[in-house]
């Protein structure tokens, strides 16, 4: 199969399947699972092609750059597509059991079948976003993603979920309009929206700086970087568990991916050192503040949502670290790898939280007493994914944090280095709080039986995220394809 077919398959198949599933409800889960298998195969195949042939470019319909739509894939896109395929497949399998068990006799069962088309639309939008070759196409795919995400938040149908969905929609659309205004300014100055061309032409003049500021603010709002995270906890905690997993693991990564790509491949022409330090400082504040809030929460899913606020912070340290050329590659690749690792771990944590909530019938952390005996698999999955959130070896997050720490120390940024360590300790506190509660003697109330898929899918994904450390070298060599920071020959993976 040629790479054109692979690329188009990644976008067209989920989109077509989404429409089919919407029209014919009974095909929902068989079709979704078939698409999931195809996505996994295509994503691995694309990663293979990219690592042997280098970055790929595909002109849709043969129209070419100024007028047509270009798709582009390099190592970073391939890694993000793999992340989407792995997390998306796991969440899809989990969702069959989750919605299957919630339909019988639960009060919030009436709109749940809409999860399936939304899941596939979200998937298509994510793949298209990671493959976009121009900044306008990124806007369109980001909007498709937003609309699917809003509907997923509102899926639970409760008043809190509706309010969270509305608030997220208003913020996300305003943020997209900032981004679009920035794109309009870039186009008026440079006459192109292709980000490779933009990157080679960008100068540090006033219109470009305004455009960069608008684009950055828009994307920061969507990525929920502290202090723009105010919409996130309610939105992620009130969605059904599979939707929360998708939102926290993948949707945030999409807008981060855009900022990551634009900042290092398009914006280097403008001198943004100071702004980079500011972003890293906000990231550091997010790590500490998000963790402290997570420790304070009584509600399990809110705790996990605040943990996301904190983990997002790690992704932003690179904007300061990459200013130092000797450590730029380490920081850059570690951040991309951290995104993958966090996606797997956070999806596992949200799914495990959903299973525990189903088992105990309550969303409170206090209600978890005794679950370690009655739901050993799920609690173990939660703890294993928690190890990744803390960044302990042998997980992929350990590798990423190690590289970030090393970059921070080598570039003399002691404050950022200490925040990386403190963040790990604080994560341990909020994870152990849950695990410790689950080990307390049960209060006489038996938990409900959880379907096997709802126990073992979170466990599998948690184990994948723990094992990611083992494929570190392969992931790094994949990331080298098309990176803006070619690695120096010395140094290596610990």
């Amino acid at each position: 199969m040629s790479f054109e077919a692979t690329i188009l398959g990644l976008i067209v198949l989920p989109l077509a399947a989404g429409v089919a599933v919407f029209l014919a409800r009974q095909t929902a889960w068989p079709l979704t699972l078939a698409i999931a298998v195809l996505q996994l195969v295509s994503a691995f195949q694309l990663a293979g092609i990219v690592s042997t042939d280098g970055p790929l470019r595909y002109e849709v319909g043969g129209w070419g750059a100024p007028l047509g739509i270009d798709l582009y894939a390099d190592g970073l896109s391939a890694l993000m597509l793999l992340m989407t395929a792995i997390v998306g497949s796991a969440v899809s399998v989990y969702a069959t059991a989750y919605f299957g068990s919630h339909e019988s006799g639960e009060k919030h069962g009436h709109d749940q079948h809409l999860f399936w088309p939304l899941n596939l639309f979200l998937w298509a939008a994510l793949n298209a976003l990671f493959l976009s070759g121009d900044v306008f196409n990124l806007y369109v795919t980001l909007e498709l993603l937003t609309l699917a995400a809003v509907a997923l938040i509102g899926l639970a149908g409760t008043v809190e979920a509706l309010a969270a969905a509305l608030r997220y929609l208003l913020i996300a659309v305003a943020a997209s309009l900032f981004y679009l205004l920035g794109v309009a300014m870039l186009y008026s100055v440079y006459g192109t929206v292709d980000w490779n061309l933009l990157g080679s032409q960008l100068r540090s003049d006033l219109p470009s700086l305004c455009a960069i500021a608008l684009i950055t603010v828009g994307l920061l709002l969507k990525t929920a970087l502290f202090p723009l995270h105010f919409w996130l906890p309610a939105a992620h905690a009130n969605a059904p568990a599979p939707a929360s997993a998708l939102l926290s693991a993948l949707v945030l990564k999409a807008s981060f991916f855009m900022l990551f790509r634009l900042w290092f491949s398009v914006f280097p022409g403008a001198d943004l050192r100071l702004a980079g330090h500011l972003l890293a400082a906000l990231g550091a504040a997010a790590i500490v503040w998000g963790s402290l809030q997570a420790i304070r929460q009584r509600h399990l899913k809110l705790m996990v949502a605040y943990s996301t606020v904190s983990q997002i912070g790690y992704l932003f340290l690179v904007f300061s670290l990459a200013a130092e050329p000797t450590v730029a590659w380490d920081a850059w690749s570690a951040t991309a790898f951290f995104a993958l690792s966090h996606a797997c771990a956070k999806a596992a944590v949200f799914m495990a939280a959903g299973s525990l909530q189903y088992a105990t019938g309550s969303g409170d952390i206090d209600a978890l007493a005794g679950t370690a005996q009655q739901q050993p698999v799920t609690v173990f999955a939660f703890a294993a994914a928690g190890v990744v959130l803390m960044g302990l070896p042998p997980s992929g997050a350990f590798l990423a944090k190690w590289l970030l720490l090393e970059s921070a120390l080598l570039s003399g940024q002691w404050l950022l280095a200490s925040v990386v360590i403190v963040g790990g300790v604080l994560a341990a506190v909020y994870i152990f709080r849950v695990v410790a509660r689950s080990l307390v003697a049960p209060e006489g109330r038996a938990t409900r039986h959880v379907p096997l898929l709802m126990q073992f899918v979170p466990l599998l994904l948690a184990l994948v995220s723990v094992a990611l450390g083992a494929i570190g070298p392969q992931a790094m060599s994949l990331l080298e394809v098309g990176t803006p920071f070619p690695p120096l020959t010395t140094g290596g993976v610990p």
Partner: protein, 101 residues
């Protein structure tokens, strides 16, 4: 100052007015309308900047972008109105404040 620049400045002002409305207004319907004003401002900037060199035909690419943007704006507005209707039916309220705990 050319007409194009004037239109672009008007568009920027509209974006500012719209964003102010999104942040300040409490009624969600007003927020949605403010969002549309913001969108209209952005589209006006795009159309105005299409006339890149005076005396020649305008560049068609920004116009195509505006068409795409309008589709997105209409869908987002429809979704927001549907959510608001549902929210209003369930709670009888039109403001989002103090709903979440």
């Amino acid at each position: 100052m050319t007409y194009a620049i004037l239109y672009a400045l008007c568009g920027t002002v509209l974006v500012g007015v719209g964003f102010f409305g999104v942040v300040i207004c409490r009624h969600v319907l007003r927020k949605v309308i403010a969002l549309n004003i913001m969108g209209a401002g952005t589209f006006l900037v795009l159309i105005a900047l299409a006339r890149r060199t005076p005396g020649t035909l305008p560049d068609p690419v920004p116009h195509a972008m505006v068409l795409t943007g309008i589709v997105v704006a209409v869908s987002a507005t429809a979704l927001a109105l549907a959510l608001l209707r549902r929210f209003h039916r369930e709670t009888g309220r039109t403001e989002l404040d103090r709903v979440v705990e």
